[in-house]
Amino acid sequence: MCKICSERPVYVGLDGKNYCKNCFMEYVEDKIFKTISKYKLIERGDKVAVGLSGGKDSMTCLYILDKLSSKYKFDIFAILINEGIENYREITAKDAKKFCKKNKIKLIEFSFDKNFHLTLDKIKDKGISPCTNCGILRRYALNKAARENKATKLATGHNLDDEAQSLLMNEFKGNVSFSAKLGPRTGVLMHSKFIPRIKPLYFLTEKEILVYSKLRDLPITYIECPNSHDSFRNEIGKVLNELEVKYPGTKHSIISSFLNILPDLQNKYQHTKIGTCSICGEPAAKDICRACEILELNT
């Protein structure tokens, strides 16, 4: 039975204790609130853009920030990126639009087709992993749309699983400096055109978010991106889940260890020079930003 109120349990925590529906939802919301407070993710007066895909993570993020926004005096709006992935994005986008309309949340739409004159489906068989291209173009689009709509923060639905996967991917690929950009809020790269990124769901597992979104009955079509099966991230995720079931708490331990060394990583890599892309004027590590490189190759 629930460790707090003795009702029927819906979730077992890492400590082996049970939570009922209401106590679990309170636990999730409290965890998000504590993350926002501890890492000062949002301050009074902020205008927070929420990257919205219509999936469980971003919908949960938007739902909870919307709940908190009136009490803690900040504004929110959502940015929906349509990459052009057939039989997937149009379905989740429909849920996202419906949710924003019902909850009177301003929604900005950014489509790859309209803004980049390509779709992810059109460029996915050209050598580079679709997830790599998608990640670069999505981050570019979110930052641009957030800034053009005067956001002071950009919130995403990244969770503990995503972060643990990213850390291991960086380790395995020898890209440790990339990990300095992780954490609950933007890492080391400073540029006047960068909108600080925040991750309110940072300490929640993917499973906790799914349970929460189901219990809240959020209007979500639970489908998987057709490209995710082949990704390196997917492989790493499988390994982590195998370790987690044998050694519960593995993912939390990875994140906790990482947060201990993050200040040192940031200190080491904070001098990384960030310039401006000679084509589009957006932040870039080289003369041309990675988004423009992709666009040059594919248009």
Binding site: G54, K56, K207, L210, Y222, E224
Partner: protein, 68 residues
């Protein structure tokens, strides 16, 4: 005894032979599903892995991994 199970990720329904005192975790083991990667509902209510099940129950297994 047999129990009806819907596996959302594969979009299939299966009849699975279980022991009379089976729990959700036993069913997941039979199906070779890692419990970290799914949540399970019994008769439309989300339940924990220690929950007992019987042939009259309707079990649905939802995948946690989505990618978005």
């Amino acid at each position: 005894m047999k129990i009806k199970v819907f596996i959302e990720r594969e979009n299939i329904k299966k009849d699975i032979e279980i022991k009379p005192d089976a729990r959700i975790i036993d069913l997941l083991k039979l199906l070779k599903i890692n419990p970290v990667t799914v949540i399970v509902s019994k008769n439309k209510k989300i339940v924990v892995e220690e929950t007992p099940i019987n042939s009259k129950d309707r079990i649905e297994i939802y995948s946690v991994v989505s990618g978005g």
